[in-house]
Symmetry: C2
Subunit: 581 residues, 2 copies
């Protein structure tokens, strides 16, 4: 993997940063976050602006370009990948390490007095805007919204925004109709005394209307906003997708309906003006509910006095607790996924010794087996198929330049998953096709012990997932080993493979308490730079546990693995396990 | 324990809340926090205003009185105690439970439109003021500073502010002279480009000058502020304490000194006017460093643009990392403390069966044995001497009304500690003088397993203590048991028994990373309301650990128990322990 040469691009960007055509006053720094206008983690090609300007295409990272510097903040998963993909114009800022400055501190240290820092107001979440704006202002600088995205102005061959057909999901998949979801949402709105709710996250729009799309690779979502009032439903979406008879039928667009369930379809681009109209019509004490992660542009459309901001929306929380139909679907999906991976492992065991299987071939084969399963839609993320040293690049994706051949001498790590119409999978297995070394087995067994410790943990109802993170590390810590990523994330039901509001990570504190029906991953690992990577990941369902004393009737929870893919026993040093493990 | 009857007091308070003599405009609510002007946890009798108005005298709690209501917020340690001590005028707000409103939310729900909420600006920390003021303002109310403390106006027999002699500590105890501490502080100030540092916490003033006092029971501190400039040292302190030749010699008040080490002694009450003078003399970019927990009054004395606020001061962080002299002193103190408690336990084993030992007698006997040890100064907190159901009141202190006789039929819990001139101790042991039941032994053993899990934990350098909290609960959780308090707190060196910035608690996220030399407690417990309480507490020192792989040279840490008091083996069900435990 050779780095992208960005000298010319940075020169062009620095020119437009001073051009009166795009900015009222020159900006001395320009921030290029990862996200799109919906703060999505996975984004459409047209939104990959940070990758375009820097070459670094990992899922998380923020670029800041000043007249003199170009710097990239990313987390432990991507330190190696970012270092490989970026040229010498860029400074890598390793988040989570003690000496790494925050973006704000760094800006303050490099900017001349009274600088302007520009950012696209649709791309920056309102909470980040607020924090950064405050820090910059207290150091005498200004954060300013730049309406036209400056990367787009220099991106001559920028792809078009996708606008693909929709999939409708019936009750057998969703368990709850979109009308009942709207009704439940309105009752949450009434509880909090808000009149309007703005749906900005793409997976929340998809979940609410029981629709799926394919505008973004791996995430079955479509570009849209929704604004829900107590008696109105407005869906902001482009293209002829609303002409599809199946969609019209599903949304009952042509039926005679009670007015409060009549969906008004509006152009995607009209969200700001419609929100401004909503804001202008409000009386004192009438509130509009928004996620505090909604874009600065959307948030600013509602006057401050009328905003009701929360870190997690009621849709996000409702979506996380899977109902019986969704859980049954997730179980079916995981059975199919395990069948496909067993076929793959069988094939790999035969083919790897021949020396003809590369990381890309293995990844393609995994997709081939999965695609033969019923209701397969697409992969749920880019397959991490990595052997030997590539396994230590935590979110590695094989490309021709790095493509390595699987062998009987190296550890192979496969982190992969699929979208089936009935559920989303995400599984990591680490294996050896020859004889693993004593050290490799030792490390693998510690990771396995951590995986089991989380999976078998029992905890009181209402416990936040971050309190379980250290259980995954304890066996590694005892020997002086650790890994630089969280232990688990929420998983959607035929939706995003990473979703809030729960997870298992030392990095968050504001996660919502775990409750029965939530689904998270359990994926500790160990990475030896330049040598190998180990990760063992199951998707697990939060279920009630039987305990002797049941927390004085508060209720006990534990996890049930949904993933059914075997773990390679030759990697385990059984002597390091306890009887219970 | 019968509740305090507060009907008349509340009536008087509600009168002064409307009296033009004390308030410019009537206040519809008045907040009475726990603290003093230094945000101390333990306070002098003259500062026990919340206890005076409500009867509840636990260490943590906030009272709010409106025209119609009186409500008390406190945490799980004090639910039972507060319920016992308060009369029916008061509503108990159980913090940490899901349905308990925050103070702000509650105020908004009960206040008439456009209300004024009063508070003493010296008693409320600036960060709390900010949060509460914002929440109230967004609901149309105002938080207003009431200069004269309204509780004081109705407290006819309020005790005088204490002003006791000082103790000087030489290098054999402190390891570092006050001059070297000032120099180190100034170099931290230079790093952050601040010109002034305001010392507001009493233990920080005491630590900085290697002085101790006895103005506050249990905490060897004295009422003072300090303001450190790059070339000046101002100590704000009252009384004739500066006339003591030992103190004058220690602070070199009569020596010819470099001007930057010359201490200017000023009256305690002149802090605001002096700070205002400092603030008025600043040029742009010149900053004053304050704790964000400093009082609103002190913080407001410095214009906002000149404030540099941090959650933990450099003194707080330096104080937490004990040097070799302090560690050696802490070890000596813990040996003496263990001798005293062994004498006590021997005495109890003989006397308890006679049926003549009450909780108060046992507590007094513990103090008697401790006071015979060299360099004993006082207790480090009110002894929790509790038997049977009283043990379930987490921060119980025996008083004649509740005083129970120890017997061979009940569990006895003793949480106690002392201040020695060389160190501070804090130890909890739970014991039975007859035959514990199977269930009692079971619960005790789970608590012991949690205690061992933390004490034996190995973790990478830089780990925050809150990540270890769940280790203490795991054995309890497995059986459906838990406890409603954190697992550990920082411990001072002949200073406050509770100190920041580190600890082991699921409740904090902003604790500073653990490093070698820090000292914390390890004290899981289990409480069965109405029956018994169990807690096992050691004070432990963070030390480097030997691990096989040492976290890629990041370094490994673990704990070494300083506490040497035996744990009663008859309480242990050995079958529940692993070989390692």
């Amino acid at each position: 993997m050779s780095p992208k040469i960005t000298t010319e691009l940075l020169k062009q960007l620095r020119q437009v940063m001073k051009s009166p055509k795009y900015v009222q006053e020159p900006v001395q720094a320009y921030i290029v976050p990862s996200g799109d206008a919906h703060q999505s983690e996975y984004i459409a090609p047209c939104d990959c602006r940070r990758a375009f300007i820097s070459g670094f295409d990992g899922s998380a990272g923020t670029a800041i370009v000043t007249e003199q510097h170009a710097a990239m903040w990313t987390d432990g998963r991507y330190f190696l990948q970012a270092a490989h993909q970026m040229d010498n114009n860029w400074t890598l800022m390793k988040m989570g390490l003690k000496d790494t400055p925050t973006q704000e501190d760094w800006l303050v240290s490099v900017l001349p007095e009274g600088s302007k820092v520009g950012v696209d107001p649709f791309i920056i979440p309102a909470d980040q805007w607020k924090r950064m704006s405050k820090a910059l202002r207290s150091a005498g600088h200004d954060l300013v919204p730049v309406k036209e995205n400056l990367i787009d102005t220099i991106w001559s061959d920028c792809p078009q925004r996708p606008c693909k057909p929709l999939i409708t999901l019936d009750l057998s998949y969703t368990g709850v109709s979109w009308r009942d979801k709207i009704t439940a949402l309105r009752s949450k709105m009434a509880e909090r005394k808000v009149l309007w709710f703005v749906v900005t996250a793409l997976d929340e729009v998809a979940w609410l209307f029981n629709l799926r799309g394919s505008d973004v690779e791996y995430n079955p979502v479509f570009f849209a906003y929704a604004v829900i009032g107590m008696n109105t439903i407005r869906l902001f979406i482009d293209g002829d997708r609303m002409m599809d008879p199946a969609v019209r039928e599903h949304l009952q667009l042509d039926s005679t309906l009670e007015p409060e369930f009549k969906i008004q379809v509006m152009p995607y681009g009209s969200i700001l003006s419609e929100l401004q109209a909503v804001g202008a019509g409000l009386s004192p004490k009438e509130k509009v509910w928004l996620s505090d992660k909604a874009s600065y542009a959307v948030t600013e459309a509602i006057p401050k006095a009328y905003r009701y901001l929360t870190p997690y929306t009621p849709i996000c929380i409702a979506k996380a607790v899977k109902n019986a139909s969704e859980t049954a679907g997730m179980r079916r999906a995981h059975i199919k996924d395990a069948v496909a991976l067993c076929e793959l492992f069988n094939w790999l065991e035969k083919e790897v010794p021949k020396g003809t299987v590369t990381e890309i071939i293995a990844a393609d084969k995994a997709e081939e087996f999965r695609s033969q399963q019923k209701d397969f839609v697409e992969l749920s993320f880019a397959t991490i198929s990595s052997t030997g040293p590539n396994g230590a690049i935590i979110h590695y994706k094989p490309v021709p330049e790095t493509n390595r051949t699987l062998s009987v001498n190296e550890i192979y790590l496969l982190d992969s998953g699929a979208q089936y119409k009935d559920g989303t999978t995400d599984v990591t297995r680490t294996m050896h096709f020859g004889t693993p070394s004593v050290y490799e087995k030792e490390c693998f067994t510690y990771v396995l012990k951590g995986h089991i410790a989380v999976s078998a943990a029992i905890f009181p109802n209402g416990t936040k997932g971050h309190l379980l993170d250290s259980f995954a590390r304890s066996a590694l810590w005892d020997c002086g080993l650790d890994y630089l990523h969280g232990t688990g994330h929420g998983v959607g039901s035929f939706l995003n493979v990473h979703e809030g509001p729960c997870g298992i990570s030392y990095k968050t504190f504001a996660d919502e308490p775990l409750e029965a029906g939530m689904i998270v991953s359990d994926e500790p690992g160990y990475y030896e730079d330049g040598s190998f990577g180990i990760r063992i990941e199951n998707v697990v369902l939060v279920i009630p546990a039987e305990t002797k004393y049941n927390f004085k009737n508060r209720g006990s929870l534990t996890f049930e693995p949904l993933t059914l893919v075997p773990i390679q026993t030759k990697m385990i040093d059984v002597n390091l396990l306890t009887q219970k493990e």
